[in-house]
């Protein structure tokens, strides 16, 4: 679990030990250290509350709606290679990872969390590819089967790009701690 560093007040200046130093002539602008823009990250409590709220649409998107569509398809005589169990497991895992990404966004854990969420999405889609077919029987020995694995392979490009985003953010946060946070939560 990542521990948030204490928030920096909006008017905070870079740490200066001038108070304890003997009075000196005011430094010129050229020699003074550049003022770091302040940022204020939302509190963990607030992020957790919003995260739980976000869990609802995430679960709807990743689990409930697909499971409902699967159930309706079954009622219509369509059989799918995708099981309700896989939809539940995958949907819940992806929903939780998405919420974790939101909660840890103002921390350096955001990069790894993004990588984990994107990687999980890619793996989830790749696992679904061999199962991605629907079959319907028309009676009298006729059946039709639609395979749509290529669509999932194409969709996997999107979290793959998200994976790259996570890596870039991870590197950025390692090389320049708090730089991203000042942009995202500054002012």
């Amino acid at each position: 679990m990542t521990t948030d560093p204490p928030p920096i007040p909006p008017d905070a200046a870079p740490a200066a030990d001038g108070a304890t130093s003997p009075p000196v002539a005011p430094a010129t602008a050229a020699s003074a250290p550049a003022a770091e823009p302040p940022f204020r990250r939302p509190s963990l409590t607030r992020r957790a509350i919003v995260g739980v709220a976000l869990l609802i649409p995430a679960v709807l998107f990743w689990w409930i709606v697909p499971a409902r569509l699967l159930g309706d398809a079954t009622d219509l005589g369509l059989s799918s290679g995708v099981s309700g169990y896989w939809l539940a497991v995958g949907g819940i895992v992806l929903s939780i990872l998405g919420v974790v990404c939101y909660v840890v966004r103002p921390t350096r854990a955001y990069g790894p969390a993004s990588i984990a969420a994107s990687a999980a999405s890619v793996v989830y889609l790749w696992l679904l590819v061999p199962l991605s077919h629907v079959t319907i029987g028309f009676g009298s020995g006729t059946s039709a089967s639609l395979e749509y694995g290529t669509i999932l392979e194409l969709l996997a490009i999107v979290p793959a790009i998200g994976l790259a985003v996570g890596v870039v953010i991870l590197v950025e946060d390692l090389r320049h701690p708090d730089e991203r946070l000042r942009v995202e939560f500054g002012g």
């Binding site: 823009p37 039709a144 395979e147």
Partner: protein, 268 residues
């Protein structure tokens, strides 16, 4: 409003990647939607049931096809048909197949299917020359839409095979002794052409004694359109040394490119 930090390069890169991801997602969804709409415009224009029949050796080849009208704006590719026909015993009798066809948008195309019956495969296949049968058939059709989804259709049915020499009978009738010492045997040949093609050619039958010795042979020209029957009696002369009782009549048909032995008929 507080001072805004200028976005660092890596952060800008991540933002750009995120936008690319969004654009890719939207593009994929639009393409899938367009492909689905385009696929919905594909129509089965017709079945070519009046297949052209050709015969060669012991094979009967039927060429048919289906017509597809691609009314969509994306091509359909990988259009392919295949059928497997089995003898009642489970032996594979014939395979019907089509070439793999691509149908561009707005084009009405026929996918040809070629079905080959190998009637010389074995005795059971040869029996199809003289006996109608219900043959199990499994058919498969594949169509690929816009390269992202493949529709496969599977059909199991029975094909009603009509024998070209249905109920063939070659029957020696009551013999009559001739003054030259031979025995005249009237032989009645009858059958119904329930097959796929008109028969124009020659039936040659050979009468064997029970010992296997050839007693007589005769040729009959035939011209039997499909759906009609043939019933003719001819006379063969057998030497007195030949006793045909318990023998067999071997029958060969030559015509339409076919050269095939029909199942032998026993002589009571």
């Amino acid at each position: 409003m507080g001072p805004m930090a200028r976005a660092p390069p890596l952060y800008r890169l991540s933002r750009m990647l995120r936008r690319i991801g969004t654009i890719v997602l939207v593009a994929i969804l639009l393409y899938v939607g367009a492909a689905a709409y385009s696929a919905s415009q594909v129509r089965l224009a017709g079945l070519d049931g009046n297949g052209q029949v050709t015969t060669a050796g012991e094979n009967v080849t039927v060429v048919g096809g289906i017509s597809l009208q691609n009314g969509g704006f994306l091509g359909i590719s990988g259009v392919e048909l295949a059928s497997y026909i089995w003898l009642p015993s489970g032996t594979l009798l014939g395979v019907a197949h089509s070439p793999t066809v691509t149908i561009p948008p707005g084009v009405n195309a026929t996918v040809p299917v070629t079905l080959v019956f190998d009637l010389g495969l074995n005795a059971e296949a040869a029996s199809l020359l003289t006996h109608n049968a219900e043959l199990p058939v499994e058919s498969f059709a594949n169509v690929s839409f816009a390269g992202i989804a493949t529709l496969g259709i599977h059909n199991s049915m029975n094909y009603s095979w009509g024998a070209p020499f249905q109920s063939l009978n070659v029957t020696p009738q009551v013999p009559t002794a001739q003054s030259n010492g031979t025995v005249a045997f009237p032989v009645r040949v009858s059958y119904q052409n329930a097959g796929l093609f008109d028969e124009v050619g020659t039936i040659t039958y050979t009468v064997h004694a029970a010992s296997g010795m050839v007693c007589a042979t005769a040729q009959l020209p035939i011209d039997t359109p499909k759906g009609t029957g043939y019933d003719t009696t001819t006379t063969v002369y057998v030497p007195p040394s030949c006793s045909i009782s318990g023998g067999t009549v071997d029958i060969d048909y030559t015509g339409n490119g076919l050269a095939i032995a029909l199942p032998p008929e026993p002589i009571p």
